[in-house]
């Protein structure tokens, strides 16, 4: 509450809300479209976004806007007609969407570790957290592809065209997960203390000096 009126805090929160609004409306869209997997994605991402706000009862307790933006990027690409047109016209566009998907899942993994530290007894050290983010991204990508495949087989959708398409997704998930695992490790170190205080996220992973008794 000490920072509630600081202009910087208002600016940070507003930028974050804008990014989240995109995520929110995309989620509503995929739910109305009964797109089960993407609805699950949107709801999970929104829950992770909302949780700190609800638990602190403070709308300014928003996540950093750049993380929110990464979180919402793949769902925007998924529903956008423009993206679909580009996928046909530009050779690397599908790789780009796969990568944005991986970055988003790495972000979910990161938020998960962060919120596990905020709300549960779980304590990880830095290297374990980095490993967890990488592993989480790859694993979720696996579950996701299995989900799309099952939906193809059981509900007659047309998500997956070939084995190599799936492998391409996995490769990008591995690349995105690896990169983002280390990026988030560095991100926590690099973010200035003043901004951490503005965001209300003093320690992301590590509770300083915490030792198991």
């Amino acid at each position: 509450m000490r920072y509630a009126r600081a202009p910087r805090r208002v600016f940070e929160a507003e930028a974050s809300w804008v990014a989240c609004t995109v995520l929110f409306f995309c989620t509503v869209y995929v739910i109305l479209d009964t797109d089960v997997l993407w609805s699950a994605f949107g709801i999970a991402a929104l829950s992770l976004y909302i949780l700190p706000i609800v638990s602190k009862r403070d709308p300014f307790q928003a996540l950093p806007w750049e993380m929110t933006l990464l979180l919402s990027s793949p769902i925007v690409l998924h529903i956008s007609e423009g993206s679909r047109a580009l996928s046909g016209a530009v050779g690397w566009w599908d790789d780009f969407t796969s990568l944005s998907f991986a970055l988003s899942f790495a972000t979910i993994g990161f938020l998960l570790t962060m919120e596990l530290h905020m709300y549960t007894d779980v304590r990880m050290n830095r290297s374990f957290s980095v490993f967890f983010v990488i592993m989480f991204t790859i694993a979720i990508s696996g579950f996701w592809q299995v989900g799309e495949y099952l939906s193809d087989v059981l509900a007659g959708t047309d998500n997956i065209s070939s084995n190599s398409q799936v492998m391409n997704q996995f490769l990008w998930a591995a690349v995105g997960g690896l990169v983002m695992g280390f990026v988030y490790g560095a991100y926590i170190k690099a973010m200035p203390r003043s901004r951490r205080e503005v965001l209300g996220l003093i320690h992301f992973w590590e509770v300083p000096g915490w030792k198991r008794d």
């Binding site: 495949y149 084995n163 799936v166 591995a174």
Partner: protein, 209 residues
Amino acid sequence: MEARLKLISRAMQAGMAAVALAGAVTGNLTWVPVAVISLVVSEIPPLLRRDLRLVLPVELNLWIVLALFLHVLGGFSGFYDNLPGWDHLTHAMSSSLIAALGFVTVVALDKYVGSIYLPGSFIAFFIVMFTMAMGVSWEVMEYVVDEVTGSNMQYSLSDTMVDLLFDAFAGFIVAAYGAYYLRHTSPDHFVESLQLVEAKAKIEAAIRR
């Protein structure tokens, strides 16, 4: 009980040795290297126990030998080609093995690393994710090897997907069994029975020497 499990392990090792020998004698060399490597790998836990005093749970030891044995048996007898689902069986065996080794590792981390605390429910979640991540990495490895060497490890999309489904299944089973195991034996007791501290002391002594 333990003696009987050991006997079963020995019998399966003898089977693998027989496959290697029979293949060498009849000039049918395709599966000989695999049988020999599997035999060597199946001797690793006993060696760890003898030289490092590192003790894996007996069930896990048996599981390791069984997975290797089924793989060698399937290759030698042509089950991989003739018995539908054999590859999925061995795949499920090996992914449950990975899951179990992940479980042992993560429980040991929880106990010995002071800056880490992982409650049982998180460990279960971790195992499921870990197994899936390893399964995906495995499939990617197969794909890359196929692309580079022109081999044919990955048959089709549905084959890959069923493999991943079995990975997920094995992950859930091991996570559930691990949670049960930790609830019914004390985690401290479980980790201490692995004798990691003794193994670490042995390794350090070996390095110093």
